[in-house]
C-alpha cells in the first residue's frame, strides 16, 4: 500500500471508485482519525446494541461555506449539528455515521484537517463515528466537501419531549446569546469581509441537555435554533403546539459585536443561525429551577427566560420591543443568507 501524500496530494476520482485508492484514503485518513471498535469490525455496517429506551435518530447534511471559520469548521459542525438534533429529544446520543461527498481536486491536507476536527468533536462529545461512506464528484460538481451525518440516541426513561407539548402559561428559556454562528460566517464572505471579534458557537449540547432533564424532566420540548434563528424555531414550535408566544426583547441575549454587525448589514439577530444554543419550554413553576441548572452549566451561563407561551389561535409569536412597543416575530421570509451550515 502506498502512502498518501497528505501535504500536497488532492482528491482524485479514483478515491471514490471503490478500489485500492479508496481503501488507502479510508485507511490512512479516516480510520486513523476515527479509530474505534465498531469501525475496526471492518464491515459495511456497524453492529452495536443500545441501552434500553426509546431510540431516536436524526440526520443533517452540511454544506457551509467557507469550510473553515473561527470557532469551528464543516467537520466539527457536522458532528455538533447531528448530536444536537438527537439531544433535543432529551436523548443521550450514542453513535454517529458520516457520509462525505468530495470534489475532485480538493486538497488532502484540508480534508485531513476536517476529518481530524470531526474526530476531536466526536471524542470530546463521547459519541463515536461508527460507519461511513465516501463519494467523489468531478471538479466543478461540488464545492470542496459536503458532509452528511446521522445520529442515533436513546431517551432515558420518564422523558417525553415533543414540539407539540407547549401549553399556555409555559416559560420559554434560551441557553445563551443568539446570532454568533451566522454573523461569524457572514463576516468571512468575500463580498462582505468585515472584521468582528466573534466566533461560531458550534458545540454539542447533550451534556447541558442531560443536566436539564435530570432536574426538570417535565420540560415540554427543546429545539436548537439553527437556520432561520430563534424566530423561525419559535414559530415552528408555536404552530406544532397550536399556541402563541410572547417574547421580551430585552431578555434576549445578543453579543455586542453580533448586534453591531446585524445593525450595519440590516439583519435581525432573531433570524440569524446558531449552532450551539437551545430553546426549552417548561411549565412556569419549574422555570426558575431550570434556569438555575442551565446557568450553572458552562454552556448555559447566559441562559435567560425570554418569554412565555400564550393562547392564540393564530399561533403568532409576538414580542415586546426594547422600545416598549409590540410587534410580531414572523417566520423567516425568503433567505437571509445561504450556505450557513
Amino acid at each position: 500500500m502506498t502512502r498518501l501524500n497528505i501535504a500536497k496530494g488532492r482528491v482524485e476520482m479514483v478515491h471514490g471508485s471503490g478500489g485500492r485508492a479508496m481503501a488507502e484514503l479510508i485507511e490512512q485518513l479516516f480510520a486513523d482519525a476515527f479509530a474505534n471498535e465498531w469501525l475496526a469490525q471492518g464491515n459495511d455496517q456497524a453492529q452495536f446494541t443500545l441501552p434500553p429506551g426509546r431510540v431516536v435518530m436524526a440526520t443533517d447534511s452540511h454544506v457551509v461555506s467557507p469550510l473553515f471559520f473561527p470557532g469551528g469548521d464543516i467537520g466539527s459542525l457536522s458532528v455538533h449539528g447531528t448530536i444536537n438534533d438527537v439531544a433535543m429529544s432529551g436523548a443521550r446520543p450514542c453513535y454517529l455515521s458520516v457520509g462525505f461527498i468530495l470534489e475532485e481536486g480538493f486538497p488532502l491536507a484540508d480534508l485531513k484537517r476536517i476529518v481530524d476536527s470531526m474526530a476531536n468533536a466526536s471524542k470530546e462529545a463521547g459519541v463515536p463515528i461508527v460507519t461511513g461512506d465516501t463519494k467523489v464528484v468531478e471538479r466543478g460538481k461540488g464545492d470542496g466537501v459536503f458532509i452528511n451525518t446521522t445520529g442515533i440516541g436513546v431517551v432515558p426513561e420518564g422523558l417525553n419531549l415533543s414540539g407539540d407539548k407547549a401549553r399556555p402559561g409555559d416559560a420559554i428559556l434560551l441557553s445563551g446569546t443568539i446570532g454568533d454562528h451566522g454573523v461569524t460566517i457572514l463576516s468571512l464572505r468575500e463580498s462582505l469581509g468585515f472584521e468582528a471579534d466573534i466566533q461560531s458557537d458550534s458545540q454539542s449540547l447533550h451534556r447541558l441537555v442531560a443536566a436539564m432533564v435530570e432536574v426538570v424532566p417535565e420540560i415540554r420540548c427543546m429545539r436548537d435554533p439553527t437556520r432561520g434563528g430563534l424566530a423561525n424555531t419559535l414559530n415552528e414550535l408555536a404552530k406544532q403546539s397550536g399556541v402563541g408566544m410572547q417574547l421580551f426583547e430585552k431578555q434576549i441575549p445578543v453579543r455586542e459585536p453580533v448586534r453591531a454587525a446585524c445593525e450595519f448589514l440590516g439583519l435581525d439577530p432573531l433570524y440569524v443561525a446558531n449552532e450551539g444554543k437551545l430553546i426549552a419550554i417548561c411549565p412556569q413553576d419549574r422555570a426558575e429551577q431550570l434556569l438555575e441548572v442551565m446557568r450553572a452549566h458552562s454552556q448555559g451561563r447566559h441562559a435567560a427566560i425570554i418569554g412565555r407561551v400564550v393562547s392564540d389561535s393564530h399561533h403568532f409569536v409576538q414580542m415586546e420591543t426594547v422600545f416598549g412597543g409590540s410587534r410580531m416575530v414572523d417566520w423567516l421570509n425568503g433567505e437571509q443568507l445561504p450556505r450557513i451550515c
Binding site: 463580498s191 410572547q246 430585552k250 426594547v322 422600545f323 416598549g324 421570509n333
Partner: protein
C-alpha cells in the same frame, strides 16, 4: 452601539408617547405619511403604532425603491440576465420581486443565468475586471441615497476604460413622487386624508431639507424630516402634531445630527455630473411622473445598459386585484386588499409592497398582523 441605543430608549419612548397622547386633540385625526420605507420598517419593527392614540394614524408612503419599480423595468432586467454573455448584478431585495408571469431574478438564476447579489456597487466593477469575456450589468435602483454610489462606479468605470461594464439605471427622485401623491385624482377629490409628511432620513442627508419647502408652501402640508431610529420617528410625529395644533405649516428638521438645509454638496455635484433627469418615468402605483427619475448623462452613455443592449421599454401586467397602487398612494391600507395574507404573503408576493421588508404590506404582514390576536394574549396574561 451606544450611540444607536440612545435612540431606542424605552423610557424616553414612553415619555414622548405620553406627550403625544396629551397634545393630540381628540376632536380631530392626524393622518401622517412616512414617505420612506426605512421609516415604515422602523415603525413596525419597534411597534410604534401601539404607542400612539387611535386618532394619530400613519400612512405608509411609496418610499420603498423595490415597491415602486414598475414590472416592465424588472422584465427588462430579466431579459438582460437571460442574455448568454451577461452577468447581472443587483441588490438582494431585487432578486425576489416577481415580474410578468411571476418570473423573478431568483427564478432566472435557477434557470442557469448569472445573477449576482451585491452589497456594494463597487463589487460590480471587480466582477467586470475578473470576467473580461462577459458583459457585467449593474441593475441600479433606489432613491437619492443609492444614486451617488452608482455615480461613483460609473466614474470609476470610465477612468478604468472598462468595455464590459454598464448600468441599467432606475434611480428615482423623492420630491417628484411627493408632488405626485398630492396631485392624484384622489388628492384632488379630497379622498386622500393626509395632514403632513414624516420626511426621509438618508435621502435628506444627500438632498438636504430645501427640496421639501414647496410642500408647506404649495399644498399646505407640513414636513418633519426624521432619522430612522424609533425615537426619531416618535419625536417627528410629536413635532407634526404640534405644527398642526398651532396652525403652523413648515419644514422642520428632527434629524439635525445628519441633515442640513443644503445636503451633501459633493454627492449632489457627483450626481449632476453623471446623470440627467428623464422626461418621464413610470412608477408602480403612481403611473408616469414627469422628471421623477434619472438616466445616464451623454458623457457616460457608453456605460448605459439601455443603449448598449438596445433595450426596448417593456410594460408589465399587474395583478388586477392587487391594491398596491392605492396603498402606495396612501388611500388604502394593506388590510383593504383582498389578496393580503391569502394568497399574497412575503413568501408568495403578488404585489410589490409585499416583496421588500420596507414595503407597507410586508411590514404590515410580518410585524403588524397580530393586532387581532392581541386581545386573546392580554386575556391570558391577566
Amino acid at each position: 452601539m451606544k450611540y444607536v441605543d440612545e435612540f431606542r430608549d424605552g423610557d424616553k419612548a414612553r415619555a414622548i408617547a405620553g406627550q403625544i397622547r396629551q397634545e393630540a386633540d381628540p376632536a380631530r385625526t392626524y393622518n401622517l405619511m412616512e414617505f420612506c420605507g426605512g421609516h415604515t420598517h422602523a415603525i413596525f419593527r419597534y411597534g410604534i403604532p401601539g404607542l400612539l392614540p387611535p386618532n394619530v394614524k400613519l400612512i405608509h408612503g411609496p418610499g420603498c425603491p423595490v415597491c415602486v419599480l414598475p414590472i416592465g423595468r424588472l422584465d427588462m432586467a430579466v431579459e438582460l440576465a437571460r442574455r448568454p454573455d451577461v452577468i447581472l448584478c443587483t441588490y438582494g431585495d431585487m432578486l425576489r420581486v416577481p415580474g410578468s408571469g411571476r418570473v423573478s431574478l431568483m427564478k432566472v438564476r435557477a434557470e442557469g443565468t448569472d445573477v449576482r447579489m451585491l452589497y456594494s456597487p463597487a463589487d460590480a466593477i471587480t466582477i467586470a475586471q475578473q470576467n473580461p469575456d462577459k458583459q457585467v450589468v449593474f441593475f441600479a435602483i433606489g432613491f437619492e441615497t443609492t444614486t451617488p454610489p452608482t455615480a461613483l462606479v460609473l466614474e470609476q468605470a470610465k477612468k478604468l476604460n472598462l468595455t464590459n461594464f454598464s448600468v441599467f439605471c432606475n434611480h428615482v427622485l423623492t420630491p417628484a413622487a411627493m408632488h405626485a401623491i398630492l396631485n392624484t385624482p384622489e388628492a384632488d377629490s379630497g379622498a386622500l386624508m393626509l395632514d403632513g409628511f414624516i420626511g426621509p432620513a438618508h435621502v435628506s442627508t444627500v438632498i438636504g431639507s430645501a427640496p421639501y419647502e414647496p410642500f408647506p408652501e404649495q399644498y399646505g402640508k407640513p414636513v418633519v424630516i426624521a432619522g430612522f431610529e424609533p425615537l426619531d420617528v416618535l419625536q417627528a410625529i410629536l413635532m407634526l402634531i404640534r405644527q398642526l395644533n398651532e396652525g403652523r405649516c413648515e419644514v422642520e428638521n428632527e434629524f439635525t445630527r445628519a441633515v442640513t438645509r443644503e445636503g451633501n454638496a459633493k454627492a449632489k455635484a457627483l450626481v449632476e455630473r453623471v446623470f440627467e433627469r428623464r422626461e418621464s418615468f413610470e412608477w408602480r402605483g403612481l403611473g408616469a411622473i414627469p422628471h421623477s427619475a434619472l438616466c445616464i448623462a451623454p458623457a457616460y452613455a457608453a456605460f448605459d445598459a439601455e443603449k448598449r443592449f438596445g433595450l426596448e421599454q417593456l410594460h408589465g401586467r399587474e395583478n388586477k386585484a392587487c391594491e398596491c397602487p392605492s396603498i402606495l398612494r396612501g388611500v388604502k391600507n394593506p388590510r383593504d386588499c383582498s389578496l393580503f395574507g391569502d394568497p399574497c404573503t412575503p413568501d408568495n408576493p403578488l404585489g410589490s409592497c409585499m416583496v421588500s421588508s420596507e414595503g407597507a404590506c410586508a411590514a404590515y404582514y410580518s410585524y403588524g398582523r397580530f393586532s387581532d390576536s392581541r386581545i386573546a394574549v392580554e386575556e391570558v396574561n391577566v
